[in-house]
């Protein structure tokens, strides 16, 4: 078996007025041993897709195969072999970490010793603490321990680090990387592009219920046109986008919404050492002075903005 997950033409429409087409035809192939990320803004259909894969929701149409089994024919066989962390599960406040993990262990025919699962997420010191006393990051690690205690072949994580501080996010990434290092498969959703770049071997970018791009993070970044980005701002009307595209090695140019009469630009470039002098020369002839300039490595965020024309976090209030 090479496919851990195989999805064809998956669609899900929630009844209502009007009906909500959460997923509109998704194909996915996740290989055994890889970490696959579903990326996209809130409401893109990531969670719905994941819940169908987890057997919590039935698809409206399409085929789903998990670990070579289907939900219709062998639901218990799949449940026994997958581990899940849902978005926002509130575990019982008054149980201890160890009691909670032991409870989840009891649902599986085979699995890890609860202490072992707790050690995997480095919560040993909190094993006797009540869940209510844990921090957000510790709770999320406990949720992952509950997912790991059945010793799953495939781990589903739905937005594992949303709302966590940077330190807690890093701790969780270590847990996922440790699990991956044992040759197991991970499928996660996130709307943090840095998280996807850190953890995922391959990603699919989902928007409005469809996969709009997929591949390794590096491939996707190359596909947008360049590994480097030059962001600059001019105080006043700046040069046209078409002019900027003529500069050496510039692949794409975006003109971002001007504020206070200033204009912001974002160029993806192949070779900054050639593009930058030409850009500066161009700007010197421009009547508006240069107000700021930075260069950076392109991220999946740039991929997303380029592909969809809108920001990844438009839909949400805040992001760390």
């Amino acid at each position: 078996m090479t496919h851990a997950i195989r999805v064809r033409d998956l669609a899900k429409t929630f009844p209502g007025r009007p009906p909500v087409e959460a997923v509109r035809g998704i194909d996915l192939d996740v290989q055994v041993g890889e970490c696959f990320g579903l990326l996209g803004p809130n409401g893109a259909g990531k969670t719905t897709t994941l819940e169908i894969l987890e057997g919590l929701t039935g698809p409206t149409a399409g085929e789903v195969e998990v670990l070579g089994r289907t939900w219709r024919r062998d639901p218990d066989g799949i449940r026994e072999r997958i581990g899940i962390s849902l978005q926002e599960t509130r575990l019982a406040d008054k149980l201890t970490v160890k009691e909670t993990v032991t409870l989840f262990r009891s649902f599986y025919a085979a699995g890890l010793d609860p202490d072992e699962a707790i050690a995997l997420v480095t919560l040993q010191e909190k094993a006797r603490a009540h869940v209510v006393k844990l921090s957000g990051g510790q709770r999320q690690r406990l949720a992952v321990a509950c997912a790991l205690v059945g010793d799953p072949e495939l781990l589903f994580l739905d937005e594992p680090t949303t709302g966590l501080d940077p330190q807690s996010r890093r701790q969780l990434w270590d847990v996922v990387n440790g699990y991956k290092a044992r040759g197991r498969t991970v499928m996660l959703t996130t709307h943090y592009m840095d998280e996807a770049e850190r953890l995922c071997d391959r990603v699919a970018i989902v928007d409005h219920g469809r996969v709009i791009a997929s591949g390794t993070p590096a491939e996707l970044i190359l596909r947008v046109g360049g590994e480097h980005v030059i962001d600059f701002t001019v105080a006043g009307p700046g040069p046209g986008v078409e002019v900027l595209k003529q500069l050496p090695t510039v692949r794409t140019a975006r003109h971002e919404s001007p504020r206070d009469g200033a204009a912001a630009y974002s160029l993806s470039v192949g070779e900054p050492h050639r593009a930058l002098p030409a850009l500066l020369a161009l700007l010197q002839q421009s009547p508006a002075p240069l107000a700021g300039l930075t260069t950076r490595t392109a991220t999946l965020e740039d991929v997303f903005v380029t592909l969809t024309g809108h920001g990844l976090r438009d839909a949400e209030g805040s992001a760390s």
């Binding site: 987890e54 057997g55 919590l56 218990d76 449940r79 026994e80 997958i82 899940i84 849902l86 926002e88 599960t89 509130r90 575990l91 019982a92 406040d93 008054k94 149980l95 009691e99 032991t102 409870l103 989840f104 262990r105 009891s106 649902f107 599986y108 025919a109 085979a110 009540h130 509950c146 059945g150």
Partner: protein
């Protein structure tokens, strides 16, 4: 391995731990019924009738002298507290409940007339007491029947109340212990999380029933022990029959709780539904006063309610000393409710 991590054991343990680590829950389940029993037992403790207020009208057709004469005769019974008043004042006192009886002397035989409030037991009692005292005064030779006083327990209000409280506790425990807990888990998405594991749904529901059963045994034991220690209330009937009735009652209300919780998505919804189910039964099912106080026309409905049947069975065993033979009707009603609700609940249950 399997024995160490049995799902039923772990789920039941989790319920027990969550409960005992929540002081408020412990109070509502154990403390509250106990306080209620003590409070009501003290407030309604039986006392001998000490005083019966009677007003004698002075401005009636037979005049003041006759009124004073009757008052003197009535004074033979020390319980009667007499007041001589004009008719208007006496009527006003009867209307406001300050006196139980207005006696107006008349010219015609037998020489007096009564004014009572037929809806008030004290008024009816005052009339009988005045009547017999005056008749005895008129016939001095009439011998008083010898009257002995029983002080046996079993007929006091607390004796009546205790089985009712046990029944109400079983109802509250079943509804909250199952209904509330399920909806809370649904709101927390814990039910959904459990569903994503190989956990068997049967184990989950069985563990809820099992944990209820364990709580119930402790609850009833505490109530019975306290009632025995404080008021000397004892179980006169068969203990095994009582236990069977308690288990059946607990299971029936757990079924009702499961049905109530089967689709509710919020704590508010389930609280409303539980009150809708519990409050009418608190009033009509003979917890604080007998269910047969209600008109005959509604009795078939009341008698078919699970709490009415349970209370009737509990009273028969605890107060009347009945055994298994008294369990037929309550058992039939409780089984019907329990099984019916459980089956419907399983069909309509929303796991996520």
């Amino acid at each position: 391995m399997t024995a160490k991590f049995s799902a039923i054991t772990q789920l039941t343990l989790a319920r027990l731990r969550e409960f005992y680590r929540e002081p408020a829950a412990v109070f509502w389940v154990y403390g509250f019924p106990l306080l209620l029993a003590v409070g009501l037992g003290v407030a309604f403790r039986d006392r001998p009738v000490e005083s019966i207020p009677i007003d004698v009208v002075t401005d009636g057709p037979a005049g003041l002298a006759k009124a004073e004469g009757y008052a003197a005769q009535l004074g033979a019974d020390p319980r009667l507290k007499l007041k001589l008043l004009d008719a208007a004042a006496a009527r006003e006192r009867l209307r406001t409940g300050k006196t139980g009886l207005v006696l107006t002397p008349t010219a015609a035989a037998p020489g007096w007339e009564f004014l009572i409030d037929p809806n008030r037991p004290d008024s009816v009692l005052a009339k009988s007491a005045a009547d017999s005292t005056l008749l005895r005064a008129a016939n001095p030779g009439l011998a008083a029947a010898p009257t002995a006083e029983s002080d046996e327990v079993g007929g006091r209000y607390i004796d009546f109340l205790l089985p009712g409280l046990i029944g109400a506790n079983l109802m509250g425990g079943g509804l909250f212990g199952v209904g509330f807990v399920i909806v809370d888990m649904r709101v927390r998405k814990l039910l959904k999380r459990f569903l994503a594991t190989p956990m068997s749904r049967r184990d989950f529901l069985l563990s809820l029933m099992l944990s209820r059963l364990l709580f119930t045994v402790a609850e009833i034991a505490v109530l019975l022990a306290a009632a025995w220690a404080l008021f000397g209330v004892s179980v006169r009937g068969n203990w095994l029959a009582l236990s069977a009735l308690v288990v059946l009652g607990g299971a029936a209300f757990a079924g009702v709780g499961l049905l109530i919780a089967s689709r509710a998505k919020t704590i508010e919804t389930v609280s409303g539904l539980m009150n809708l189910v519990m409050l009418p039964m608190y009033v009509t099912s003979g917890v604080f006063f007998p269910a047969d106080r209600f008109p005959d026309s509604v009795q078939p409905v009341l008698q078919a309610l699970p709490l009415t049947a349970l209370n009737a069975g509990l009273r028969a065993v605890i107060n009347e000393g009945a055994g298994w033979d008294a369990l037929g009707y309550p058992a039939a009603v409780l089984t019907a409710w329990g099984v019916g609700c459980f089956l419907v609940a399983l069909r309509v249950f929303r796991w996520q």
